[in-house]
């Protein structure tokens, strides 16, 4: 055993797996980072979900056949005949969806505690890459059952690429392995889903965790540098290990329970001649689909998402004059401005959707300008001016710091996107008309 701490004669030598588990951790960690509200165990939960996905996915591979003639039959048999087939498939389904949710929540924790700033800047970018891979992993898996849901979601999802200027048509052909969603698309998505994406995820997740350790562990509330930066340390085993174990068990229980109660959906076999009505993307893409209902496709699939990604990736590179601080939302002002941003987005986004439904949308009012101006430039300009004015007003009113202002802007965009997602998932009926869930308009 290492000798750089006081000897512990009573401690037994951990063997095998326990030894590996301890080897991956430092010996001691700052006590304050163990508090639940520091992390909510989200990063660890995401790792556990990844492992559950690999295990359940490996099992599913024994039953699945990646050909358009046989895929649907194999998944149908999994649902109806294979013992526990439906359960294992539901575990994979729920773990995949929760993986995205937990990873997104983890991103929010990192953002709102300011943990994306140096020395954790590169790890923030790596985390964004991991989130993109998680979404891609989900999306490639979506096609494999080859049912109606799969076929049309992937037709729409890959079709979005055609609105990329110049390279659009080539990108669509590349993503589908041809001009239509075909057997080629299935084998392409299959390889990405079961090999390339999991391998990349495994490598980058390891890197991600290693960088957390290099940064001195989880972001602390107390100063990390300077004379006051001597935290009280506690041993990883047992203090951290038991907490990680608890988080892992809670995560696994949540997945198994969801899987036992709710089956994974499986619609009719894919029919290239008939779209289901309404045809909806997977929930994590519904925000983009709702945007596609509202604005020009090039703006919905390229301009707005690129602005969003640039904003997220650029966050740690903006110069924040104030010293870093690991408190949630930074300060009382920060909490207040975040809450106000939530309210503003909750008011403005549904209002805009309702106005558009009444025909008050720029492409209806000024059809002469051509779709890319009337449905693209104009709505984007209106939103930039509106949100910019609100942000300036908020900064003046509460005299916000740079960090708090950026935080407020992020919150507005996040909540607006969530509203779009919820409207798309729950409030869109046949022909994508607005309806109340479970009732008429």
């Amino acid at each position: 055993m290492p000798s750089d701490s006081q000897p512990q004669p009573s401690a037994r030598k951990p063997g095998g797996f326990a030894n590996l588990l301890l080897h991956l951790h430092p010996k001691m960690v700052p006590e304050e980072t163990l508090a639940l509200e520091r992390t909510f165990g989200l990063g660890g939960a995401a790792l556990i979900l990844f492992l559950v996905l690999i295990a359940s996915g490996a099992l599913l591979l024994f039953a699945y056949e990646p050909s358009t003639e046989r895929a649907y039959g194999a998944v149908r048999a999994l649902e109806d005949e294979v013992p526990f087939g439906s359960f294992v498939r539901a575990i994979h389904h729920w773990a995949g969806n929760l993986f995205l949710v937990v990873a997104a929540l983890h991103l929010l924790r990192v953002l709102y505690t300011g943990a994306f700033l140096p020395p954790r800047r590169f790890n923030w970018l790596l985390g964004l890459g991991l989130l993109a891979l998680a979404a891609l992993g989900n999306f490639t898996g979506y096609l494999l059952p080859w049912d109606q849901l799969a076929y049309w979601a992937v037709t729409i999802g890959t079709g979005m690429l055609k609105y990329v200027p110049l390279a659009g048509e080539a990108l669509v052909r590349m993503a589908r392995g041809g001009s239509d969603v075909s057997p080629k698309t299935l084998s392409l998505f299959f390889v990405f889903h079961i090999a390339i994406i999991p391998i990349l995820l495994f490598g980058l997740v390891s890197f991600h965790f290693w960088l957390v350790r290099k940064a001195g562990g989880v972001m602390r509330k107390s100063p990390e540098e300077g004379p006051a930066a001597r935290p009280r340390l506690v041993p990883v085993s047992p203090d951290l290990i038991v907490r990680e174990g608890a988080a892992a068990l809670v995560t696994i229980a949540a997945v198994f329970l969801s899987a036992a109660i709710f089956r994974a959906p499986l619609e009719a076999s894919a029919n290239p001649g008939l779209s289901p009505n309404p045809a909806k993307a997977p929930w994590y893409f519904m925000g983009v689909q709702e945007l596609l209902v509202q604005i020009h496709p090039t703006f919905a699939v390229l301009v707005v998402p690129l602005l969003g990604v640039a904003f997220l990736a650029g966050l740690p590179f903006l110069r924040y004059p104030e010293p870093p601080d690991g408190s949630w939302f930074r300060s009382t002002r920060g909490r207040k401005s975040t809450a106000l941003s939530v309210v503003a987005a909750l008011l403005l986004t549904p209002t805009a959707i309702l106005l558009a439904e009444r025909g008050l949308r720029p492409d209806r009012l000024f059809p002469k300008l051509g779709p890319s101006v009337s449905a693209g430039v104009i709505p984007l300009a209106i939103w930039v001016i509106l949100v910019g004015a609100l942000l300036v007003a908020l900064v003046r009113m509460l005299s916000l710091s740079r960090f708090e202002a950026v935080q407020a802007l992020f919150t507005f965009i996040l909540v607006a996107f969530l509203v779009l997602t919820i409207v798309g998932v729950a409030f869109r009926g046949p022909s994508m008309r607005l309806v109340f869930p479970g009732g008429a308009a």
């Binding site: 049309w152 037709t155 729409i156 079709g159 979005m160 052909r173 392995g177 041809g178 001009s179 239509d180 075909s182 080629k184 290239p272 001649g273 008939l274 779209s275 289901p276 009505n277 309404p278 045809a279 689909q289 596609l292 209902v293 509202q294 604005i295 020009h296 496709p297 919905a300 949308r361 492409d363 209806r364 779709p371 890319s372 449905a375 046949p430 022909s431 994508m432 008309r433």
Partner: protein, 161 residues
């Protein structure tokens, strides 16, 4: 031994390794690219010359679906024909014909097209694609190999007897 400042034997060898590495990476990219590149000729023959039937079979002001070939044969009141692709010009969903409203409402993003395939309601940026229609000896034929993109409906697109 004479050595120029800044250029050592080790430095030259190190650079050589780097260049070799770049060459090897470029070779790998070329091999993988060629391996994965879609081959021509396997696809392509998806469309065909579809014989829709004698002119008299299609009453004026009617829309006849050909789901297997993914188009609608529209006949206007004046007797003219138009073959509309049933693939939405927005994101390629298949649009149904609504006889009551006499429109093609897209189930995916809410675009609505009228009987000529023109956009009645956004977000679709352009009208439904066309397939060329030929009428010979009273028989209507549609060439689904050739898709015609268009921004708007124009009367010249209609094929008359």
């Amino acid at each position: 031994m004479t050595s120029e400042p800044g250029v050592s034997r080790r430095g030259v060898l190190g650079r050589l390794w780097k260049i070799l590495g770049i060459v090897a990476a470029a070779e790998a990219v070329a091999v993988i690219g060629a391996f994965l590149w879609p081959r021509k000729g396997k696809e392509g023959a998806r469309g065909s010359l579809v014989v829709a039937g004698p002119v008299a079979e299609f009453t004026p002001a009617s829309v006849t679906p050909f789901p297997a070939h993914r188009f609608y044969l529209v006949r206007f009141t004046d007797g003219g024909f138009l073959a509309l692709s049933s693939t939405c010009s927005h994101l390629e969903c298949s649009v149904p014909w609504n006889e009551k409203d006499r429109t093609f409402p897209c189930p995916c993003h809410g675009s609505v097209f009228d009987m000529t395939g023109d956009v009645k309601s956004p977000p679709a940026p352009r009208a439904l694609d066309l397939f060329p229609v030929t009428i010979e000896g009273g028989i209507v034929r549609i060439d689904t190999n050739r898709k015609i993109r268009r921004a708007h409906f124009e009367p010249s697109q209609v094929v008359n007897l």
